[in-house]
Symmetry: C2
Subunit: 226 residues, 2 copies
């Protein structure tokens, strides 16, 4: 059930090709800083939602596999670390940046149902993880909100399908499109080894739907707690 769609294992050549990552760049303009304690607080709170997934030589998550599900892969790395906005000074082979933003589609009723069964990240038994960066097509982003919602849920049952796998599969979504990143979303999953087959099934279900026809690049990183 795992590979419902064609996937490509990355070769050594792919790794070398993909390894042309940019050097750290400098922001060029001063920014308007927030003023006053409550604004500082608001800014800090936002900063804490900014997350970098980095490919590193040692870290808390050992890489089992990195493969391109659609489009180009990313460079192999032996470990992945997850850094918050503040502590992102670590040297790394690559970095994927995202922001845990507000929900774009979920209704109150759906959110209530999800919240009731959504587990926290970091459960001791959830020693397996996956990071799935996805970029959607121009055609997707040219849809209006009602059209995207119809593909996502009214027809696609994205939330309804995901609900069936809760609380087994913990999940956190990071938005990256507005950051100018190469991916639009980074989704992080955590689960116990025994729930690995259920996770594969969930991926298969999501990739079988209409929504996935709007995916132009997807990479799957499988990880295990080091």
């Amino acid at each position: 059930m795992r590979l419902l769609t064609p996937t490509t294992r990355i070769s050594r050549r792919d790794i070398l090709l993909a390894a042309s990552v940019a050097l750290p760049g400098c922001a060029s303009s001063p920014r308007v800083e927030p003023r006053g304690p409550e604004e500082e607080g608001a800014r800090r709170a936002r900063g804490s939602n900014s997350t970098r997934f980095v490919g590193v030589s040692s870290g808390p998550w050992r890489v089992i596999d990195i493969r391109a599900v659609r489009g180009a892969s990313i460079p192999m790395a032996p470990f992945v670390d997850v850094l918050s906005g503040k502590d992102d000074q670590r040297s790394s082979a690559w970095a994927l940046h995202g922001v845990a933003s507000h929900g774009r589609y979920t209704t109150r009723q759906e959110k209530t149902a999800l919240d009731a069964v959504t587990p926290q990240l970091g459960r001791p038994e959830a020693t397996h993880a996956a990071l799935i960066p996805i970029r959607k097509t121009r055609a997707w982003w040219d849809l209006t909100q009602d059209e995207r919602r119809a593909v996502f849920e009214e027809r696609g049952r994205h939330i309804a399908k995901s609900l069936q796998y809760l609380p087994r599969i913990a999940r956190k979504l990071y938005h990256a499109r507005d950051l100018g990143e190469p991916f639009d979303f980074l989704t992080w999953f955590e689960f116990a080894p025994a729930d690995g087959p259920a996770f594969d099934e969930l991926l298969g279900a999501l990739r079988a739907g209409e929504e996935w026809s709007f995916v132009e690049r997807e990479v799957e990183l499988r990880l295990q707690r080091a």
Copy 2:
């Protein structure tokens, strides 16, 4: 009709206080770069949606007024320049960064109605402009999509009200919240001097509604082509 809500004119002390802008910072981690010509193209297209409004000593837009409508103002500057993602190396007193992203609320029907009467930016007669940075409250962002949409349009008629002022008032919205900016949105307006009163009326109408109760910081910059 212009000042339906209490506003604060900035004082010299405010300007000095607000002038504590940060120095340009350095991004710290390498990024995964896009690969392949079509991905480069996609990245460039996104980059072109990234815009910086900067306060400068000379530029295409002369500042008539900067005032805090709610919360703290931003530093005064004699001119404003509008820079695209690539040419943001210009030295400036302050910079506000935003991304012209996809619509978050508009339905296909509404978009069709808007597109039919929406003018381009840069009309020769539109020598007046306004830049309105806004930050919404935590309570707003804690609403779900259906709740935000209800405040925005079903009850607030944000789109319906704006439609009445088209094609007189050209408008472009930039998203900034996910970028960790001090404002959530930057809205840019352009209009002919004769349509100034209509623009004031539109601002008054938007600020009179329920949606505006979720605004915690708003600054209004009035500009004239230099």
